[in-house]
């Protein structure tokens, strides 16, 4: 029993760290092989406080968490700023972990490699389990807040995230700090549970255990890392008799899971009715193995190897199958009950929240609500007497290729301007320069009276220019609703602490407002019916519309559409023309449109600019462009000569 308790407590401790890493690796998409180091910081800080200074556990744990966060930010800032790519970031964290280990081995305060023996046993199964539940709850809340959505967006597509105004560095730092706090907590608990820590405990093996738990469990999930980490702690323990072979088993388990389950155990899904049987199957396999192993151990001396192995296998298999069917049965049983339970729970919760309304609202929200009201759909207020966007002498070269050469373009408020030209003529580069993806070589881009050169993409976006992409860049594992809701991040007004606890009096009204606004935007593009679908599963044409809705969520003054009709059939492009016209008429939104479908361009645009080999060769009304010989030459490749009649 004590042994089972030990396994349970160990699992809970590692799960706390794994939850943090799930946020950092699973959701933010950054691969760390050094999280054991943050555990070490938390463990040593907390242990030193209780050991030398006789602090109680709680403040020691908190200080340990703070220390881990500080260390993580010091290490994280330069590495995240340098935008290291996955392998390089992993090796940098790994290096940090190893270096910290060496430092701990040589510090006097930490008593070097001997470690700290005889730490008070202040953590046990009960308070560890409580901390674990708290950690999971906080992670869950965080992920369902504006802050969490920003981080998930970065994990799914950093470029698209920047293009809806999410700054990478601060949000990645937030994710790192949060995950380090949980690692620190986990370390502190570990120190006070096993009562003896030494640097060797926090080696790369531990980091890799956590990372493997997250990846095998499934990216973008909390359930997966929970199950996988528990599995990685429990399964080797079951085979303690096998001594070193259990680590071989662990290695093989990693390879098997990675190869058999493309998305890990629970990739991008949380525990629900439809995957409940899977959990039971996994638990069944584990219990089956346990029973099999103990039966074999018990009977092998008496009966000999083969018969006891047979019995063990039969019993283990039986238990596994039984558990599997129990899971399916339970899922079927819960099917009708669960919606009722959840509805009752929500009703009760809302009731309690309403009771508190009078108490909490006055000092938390009343003041803020009026000030930060969402502008909502309304006409843009831009001075109409000067161009909204003014490009002068814009130039960009890549190596020897001059992609954009001395381009001038004025876009007046409320216009729809078409940007056309053969493939490779520099249209998208003009967009990339305008939205700050590439730095400008020379020339100026003035938007709404401000020069854009040198501004980071996020501030250009927040300044009022949003865009879509030639190759669709949605947050494909998010729901359709969340794709839009993420882009509404600027309209959210609650603090980080409120997000951690989902403080009902600030978070709930804001989230409801964001949801309503997002549904409105989905209504504009006709996607309300798909709100709960995962974005990546939408048909192509609808994904394009969703991208437009997401761009509109930023309440832009200027919308850059990069080939919105690419790959659409004639009917779909007609629909799209209608949609763009509708959006334009509703808010007098200024639009620049890159497009190859000439019917779309000629239908929509008041003015058209034509690029060829990076130079603007023509500009004018659709009629002028259609009869311009230079344009015809660019498209057809030869001069049009009129043979004299008769």
């Amino acid at each position: 029993m004590a042994y089972a308790q030990a396994i349970f407590t160990n699992s809970a401790i590692y799960i706390i760290a794994a939850m943090g890493l799930a946020i950092f690796t699973g959701y933010t998409g950054l691969f760390s092989l050094g999280h054991a180091a943050f555990m070490a910081v938390g463990a040593y800080t907390a242990a030193i406080l209780t050991y030398f200074y006789h602090w109680p556990l709680l403040p020691a744990l908190l200080v340990g968490m703070i220390a881990a966060v500080l260390v993580s930010l010091v290490v994280g800032y330069p590495t995240l700023r340098a935008k290291l790519r996955s392998d390089y970031f992993a090796i940098a964290t790994l290096g940090f972990g190893e270096a910290l280990k060496v430092i701990l081995e040589n510090l006097d305060l930490t008593q070097g490699a001997r470690g700290l023996p005889g730490i008070q046993k202040l953590a046990g199964p009960v308070n560890t389990a409580a901390w674990m539940v708290l950690a999971i709850w906080v992670c869950w809340n965080f992920l369902r807040s504006t802050y969490g959505r920003k981080i998930i967006a970065i994990g799914q597509d950093p470029v698209a995230a920047e293009m809806i105004g999410i700054r990478l560095l601060p949000n990645q730092m937030l994710s790192l700090g949060f995950s380090a706090a949980l690692a620190g907590l986990s370390g502190g608990l570990l120190a006070h549970y096993i009562t003896f820590i030494q640097p060797a405990i926090f080696s790369m093996d531990l980091s890799s255990l956590l990372t493997a738990g997250v990846v095998c469990g499934g990216m973008g999930s909390l359930t997966g890392p929970f199950v996988a980490t528990a599995l990685f702690v429990v399964v080797p323990e079951l085979f303690r008799g096998l001594a070193l072979w259990r680590l071989v088993l662990y290695g093989v388990l990693l390879v098997v899971i990675m190869n058999l389950r493309p998305k890990g155990l629970y990739g991008h899904e949380e525990l629900n009715l439809s995957n409940l049987p899977k959990l039971f199957l996994i638990a069944g396999l584990t219990v089956g193995l346990t029973i099999g192993a103990s039966v074999y151990n018990a009977y092998a001396p008496e009966w000999g190897g083969a018969p006891s192995l047979l019995l063990a296998a039969l019993l283990g298999l039986g238990v596994t199958v039984a558990m599997n069917y129990a899971g399916r049965g339970l899922a079927r049983l819960l099917q009708p009950v669960l919606p009722i339970l959840s509805a009752t729970w929500h009703r009760g919760f809302n009731h309690i929240v309403r009771l508190g309304d009078g108490v909490f609202v006055p000092w938390t929200r009343a003041a803020g609500a009026a000030a930060t009201g969402d502008p909502g759909p309304q006409a843009n207020t831009v001075a109409a007497d000067k161009p909204l966007l003014s490009i002068r002498g814009l130039r960009k070269h890549f190596g020897g290729v001059i992609a954009v050469d001395s381009v001038d373009l004025d876009v007046w408020p409320g216009q729809i301007v078409g940007l056309i030209g053969p493939n490779g003529s520099g249209k998208t580069t003009v967009f990339n320069l305008t939205s700050g993806v590439y730095p400008i070589d020379s020339g100026t881009v003035t938007f709404d009276g401000r020069a854009l050169a040198g501004q980071p993409p996020t501030s250009i976006v927040l300044g009022g220019i949003s865009r879509t992409f030639q190759n669709i860049r949605l947050f494909s594992s998010m729901t359709v609703l969340d794709n839009v809701r993420t882009a509404l991040h600027t309209a959210s007004d609650y603090g980080l602490f409120a997000a951690f606890v989902q403080w009902p009096w600030t978070v709930r009204p804001t989230e409801e407002r964001l949801r309503t606004r997002a549904m409105e935007l989905l209504g504009v593009v006709g996607l309300e019916a798909y709100a709960d679908r995962v974005a990546g599963t939408l048909p192509y044409g609808l994904q394009r519309k969703l991208e437009i809705a997401r761009a509109l969520a930023l309440h832009p003054k200027l919308l850059l559409l990069d080939e919105p009709a690419a790959g659409m059939n004639p009917q779909e492009s007609l629909d799209l023309v209608e949609l763009i016209r509708r959006i334009h008429e509703r808010t007098q939104l200024t639009v620049i449109l890159i497009e190859h479908h000439m019917d779309v361009v000629m239908n929509l645009c008041e003015r058209i600019a034509v690029l060829n080999f990076g130079k603007k060769i023509a500009e004018g009304t659709p009629d002028e462009i259609q009869s311009n010989p230079l344009v015809l030459e660019a498209y057809l490749g030869q001069k049009v000569e009129y043979a004299p009649q008769g």
Partner: protein, 296 residues
């Protein structure tokens, strides 16, 4: 004194370079850090130990050749078992890294579980081990390892530049999809790649074994050669060579330096990782790494 340090540095650096080339070869085509390469290197050393000491008691050269062959085949099997499914599925590199890590953990602990943690020495190869040049001692084995490493890397370079397979590998490092469309059998190409990387790794393992000892964790993921490969820029052969050499020199330098009463050799690993960290912050893709820009 300084000459001696440089010689020591180059001799270990050349072995690091040989190991690092294996990481870079695989990374250049498959775009992931093959953490299992270190385990293959270790197994190469154990093969030599088994052949020279434990069972056949063959002389050095045949043992070296058999190690190269054995490690190459092991690397090939490693790819078949742990990576090929993921590769065909076009899984993200993270998944391949975890799978590689699984192989590394499994193989290392397999060694612990079967042969044990004991350190084994390989017999000395040359009877008269060292000679002197200008006041510095050069061990014959070091010189042999250095020359052999240089020749091996030279041969690899020649093969990559002037043979059909080499051209295919270089092309695949730019665009694997395209190469397969052009009619190259990717499975064969990857098999050749892993045979070469494994073979070089086996050779490096034997040299390491002769120079130091043979033990299960000699090729663990945090080994210096991998750090060298990262410093040089993953996926770049010149990078791997420069990175490996640089790290060897740095280690030799740190080992003989003391500041006040503190021997820097205690913090040797901190230095390697520190250099790595600083370099990555300044040059996020290492010295010679390619920066792949995404097209919007």
């Amino acid at each position: 004194m300084i000459l001696q340090t440089i010689i020591t540095g180059l001799s270990i650096g050349s072995i690091y370079a040989l190991m690092a080339v294996g990481y870079s070869l695989v990374f250049s085509v498959l775009n992931f850090s093959n953490f299992a390469h270190g385990a293959i290197i270790t197994l190469g050393a154990y093969i030599a130990w088994a052949i020279m000491v434990q069972f056949l008691r063959l002389p050095f050269l045949p043992a070296l050749l058999l190690s190269i062959l054995g490690a190459g085949i092991l690397a090939f099997l490693n790819e078949r078992i742990a990576y090929s499914t993921l590769r065909r599925r076009r899984a993200p590199s993270l998944y391949l890294m975890i799978s590689a890590m699984g192989v590394a953990i499994a193989l290392q602990n397999l060694l612990y579980a079967t042969i044990g943690a004991k350190l084994y020495a390989l017999p000395p190869v040359f009877a008269q081990d060292a000679f002197e040049v200008g006041g510095a001692t050069i061990s014959r084995m070091d010189l042999f390892a250095f020359v052999f490493s240089v020749v091996a890397i030279g041969l690899l370079h020649f093969g990559l530049m002037y043979t059909k397979v080499g051209t295919a590998i270089r092309a695949a490092s730019h665009d694997m999809e395209m190469v397969s469309v052009l009619g190259v059998n990717l499975d064969v190409l990857v098999a050749v790649l892993f045979l070469i990387a494994g073979g070089l790794g086996g050779m490096a393992g034997v040299f390491m074994g002769v120079k130091y000892m043979v033990y299960p964790s000699m090729g663990w993921i945090t080994n210096k050669a991998y750090i060298g490969a990262v410093i040089g820029g993953l996926g770049s052969l010149p990078g791997a060579i420069v990175g490996g050499m640089l790290l060897g020199l740095l280690e030799a330098l740190v080992s003989v330096t003391t500041i006040g009463s503190v021997q820097l050799s205690t913090y040797r690993d901190v230095f390697s990782f520190g250099i790595l960290a600083i370099l990555l912050i300044v040059r996020p893709t290492g010295l010679f790494g390619r920066l792949v820009e995404e097209k919007l």
